[in-house]
């Protein structure tokens, strides 16, 4: 078990005070058998009325009505959570799904259908060709090997770039540019595995990197929100694959939102009343720290922002 704290700050700056429209925030981690939220705080400046809802995927969404105009919008989210990762990397995939191609079971198809469909055109079949080559390298059409291979290959053959601007490159663009952000990598992987009949979905959230953590009270590097992929494998369920880091299993990943398409899982989205030139820029800061969990005798206070 790991106890982690996450601080996520987003700052929007404007040339002059502007009025804000409704803002949609997907910042609260998805709690489940492997993640327990211990405390959470959302601070918005200027003041906002916040209501919570569940979107179509049951992600927690905070809908904020920002009450006053301002030239800076600060959104700060701090939470502490316990993460129980599934250390066992051997997937318990059902026998019929161990080799490609396989059909999902009758009960699962209606709900998976849309996640198998490709969403982005590939007229010259470039993405398919890339996938095909990976497939031909997979011995015996083993599903697990194929997916792990794809995850690693994306990491090694593309150049990672941090892109702050909203929006995602199409898979074809990512392939042609040979580079992309974690969101672009995730989308590319989704479309690649979908082309061989696998159900995949997009996940946005946070990454805990112990190398960036340093000591308990040490300095931390600037982080960003992270994006990766979940693939549905009968028997094992939704399994995380992180093409940015070439890893799978998700032991260091904190999922916030799952979606069929990246456009549905933006951490922060909203509008302002004004001209495009009024927008000066946006800053994002993410810090994820590990915390020693209190033993029966509490030795350390929990970190607070």
């Amino acid at each position: 078990m790991q106890r982690l704290t996450v601080e996520h700050k987003t700052i929007y700056r404007y040339r002059k005070p502007v009025r804000f429209g409704e803002h949609r925030l997907m910042l609260r981690p998805r709690e489940s058998h492997d993640l327990r939220l211990l405390s959470s705080r959302l601070v918005i400046q200027p003041e906002a009325t916040v209501r919570w809802m569940h979107d179509v995927f049951s992600n927690s969404v905070a809908v904020a009505e920002i009450r006053q105009p301002a030239s800076e919008l600060h959104i700060e989210n701090i939470f502490v959570l316990d993460r129980y990762p599934n250390e066992d990397q051997t997937f318990c995939i059902d026998p019929y799904a161990k080799k490609l191609p396989f059909s999902y079971s009758a009960r699962e198809i209606p709900d998976l259908g849309r996640n198998i469909e490709r969403h982005h055109p590939d007229p010259d079949r470039k993405v398919i060709e890339w996938t095909r080559e990976r497939l031909s390298l997979t011995g015996d059409m083993d599903t697990e090997d194929f997916l792990i291979g794809v995850t690693r290959d994306i990491r090694s053959s593309f150049r990672y770039e941090v892109r702050e601007e909203p929006g995602v490159q199409t898979p074809v663009q990512t392939l042609e540019l040979g580079s992309g952000s974690c969101r672009d990598y995730a989308l590319f992987m989704m479309e690649a595995v979908r082309s061989v009949g696998l159900a995949a979905r997009f996940v946005s959230g946070y990454l805990y990197d112990s190398a960036l953590d340093g000591l308990k009270n040490g300095t931390v590097g600037a982080g960003a929100t992270h994006a990766w992929v979940q693939v549905y494998l009968p028997g094992a369920g939704w399994v995380e694959f992180d093409p940015t880091n070439g890893s799978h299993g998700g032991s260091n990943l904190i999922p916030v939102a799952v979606a069929r398409d990246p456009s549905q899982a933006m951490p922060v989205s909203g509008t302002y009343d004004g001209d495009p030139e009024d927008f000066l820029g946006m800053e994002v800061e993410v810090e994820v720290h590990s915390v020693i969990a209190p033993s029966p005798v509490a030795l350390e206070p929990e970190r607070r922002a």
């Binding site: 191609p101 009758a106 095909r132 061989v196």
Partner: protein, 313 residues
């Protein structure tokens, strides 16, 4: 009660869909062959049609027996050839007769009229000066039937089986025509190639569609990919297989039909082969082997549908 479809009727309506589609495609091929596939001395090379349908051996054997050497007669009037226009229309009507009560009055009327007309065909209708007109008439009769079906056939289980038959046959046809592409790939005289590639496109009504998608030139692999994968082209193998799957889905989701894993597996497998079976560099041997796999996949889908739905009890 109306949701209960007898296994026998499902089979009848499936084959009705296949036979009408077969007639449509055959008329199309004959017409294109007549216009575009000419030998060096100018007359149509009818043996190409035999190649498309894999009938060369059968035809030559029957020729020895009957002394008949007219491929056109074989494909239009010969009642002993189960693949001829006359035979196929006959079979379509026979199948329709058993399910007379399931199809609309208009469908039955139109098919009867078509059948009566086909019974009246003579040698005169396949004269060189008349064959094109005949093919046009046959095509239009099939298209009319399909149009009437589209507009009047109740979207119950029978409709779905009819559609499955139609799309499987259509996918099969496109695959057969693509075998011609194998020969073209082996030649490298581009001037001749263009004409014959165009003829190939026309034989599945793809010429204009392809030009629309690729207005400024293309590589030869593009035509093959277009006919296989383009989801806008009505006769692409991908679209046809996808349509079969949609109808199977509808049977399950809307008609309370239990799922049959064997059928779904056959479709998944075929899709997988279709997507991943052919690489970027398309060579004649690779294409030929790939098309063989498609054919096998299509037969498997058809067989699994038959096993699942037509032989109950």
């Amino acid at each position: 009660m109306s949701n209960t479809l007898l296994a026998r009727f499902a089979q009848n309506v499936f084959w009705l869909g296949r036979y009408i589609e077969r007639v449509d495609n055959l008329a199309r091929i004959l017409d294109i062959n007549e216009t575009y596939a000419r030998e060096s001395h100018g007359s149509p090379d009818w043996r190409r049609v035999l190649e498309i349908y894999g009938d060369t051996e059968r035809f030559d054997a029957s020729r020895v027996q009957t002394g008949e050497h007219d491929v056109l007669n074989f494909y239009v009037l010969d009642t002993k050839n189960f693949g001829s226009l006359v035979s196929s229309v006959n079979m379509a009507r026979e199948n329709a007769r058993s399910i007379r009560h399931l199809i609309s009055t208009e469908m039955w009327t139109q098919l009867n009229t078509f059948h009566t007309r086909v019974l009246q065909l003579t040698q005169r209708d396949i004269w060189p000066t008349h064959i094109s007109r005949l093919c046009k008439e046959m095509k239009e009769a099939c298209q009319t039937f399909e149009g009437v079906a589209e507009g009047t056939f109740f979207r119950g289980p029978a409709w779905h089986f009819y559609s499955m038959g139609k799309y499987i046959e259509r996918a099969d046809q496109t695959t057969r025509v693509l075998y011609l592409g194998c020969d073209l790939l082996e030649e490298d005289r581009d001037a001749v190639n263009t004409v014959r590639w165009n003829a190939l496109l026309r034989s599945v009504a793809a010429y204009h569609a392809f030009r629309w998608v690729r207005p400024r030139g293309h590589r030869r692999g593009d035509i093959i990919n277009f006919l296989l994968h383009d989801e806008g082209f009505p006769r692409s193998v991908k679209l046809c297989v996808g349509s079969v799957e949609i109808h199977i889905e509808n049977l399950v989701l809307r008609r309370g039909q239990p799922r049959v894993p064997a059928v779904e597996n056959a479709c998944t497998h075929l899709n997988f082969v279709l997507e991943t079976g052919l690489g970027h560099e398309i060579s004649a041997p690779a294409l030929r082997s790939f098309l063989d796999q498609l054919e096998i996949g299509l037969i498997r889908v058809s067989d699994e549908i038959a096993a699942a739905y037509f032989r109950m009890g």
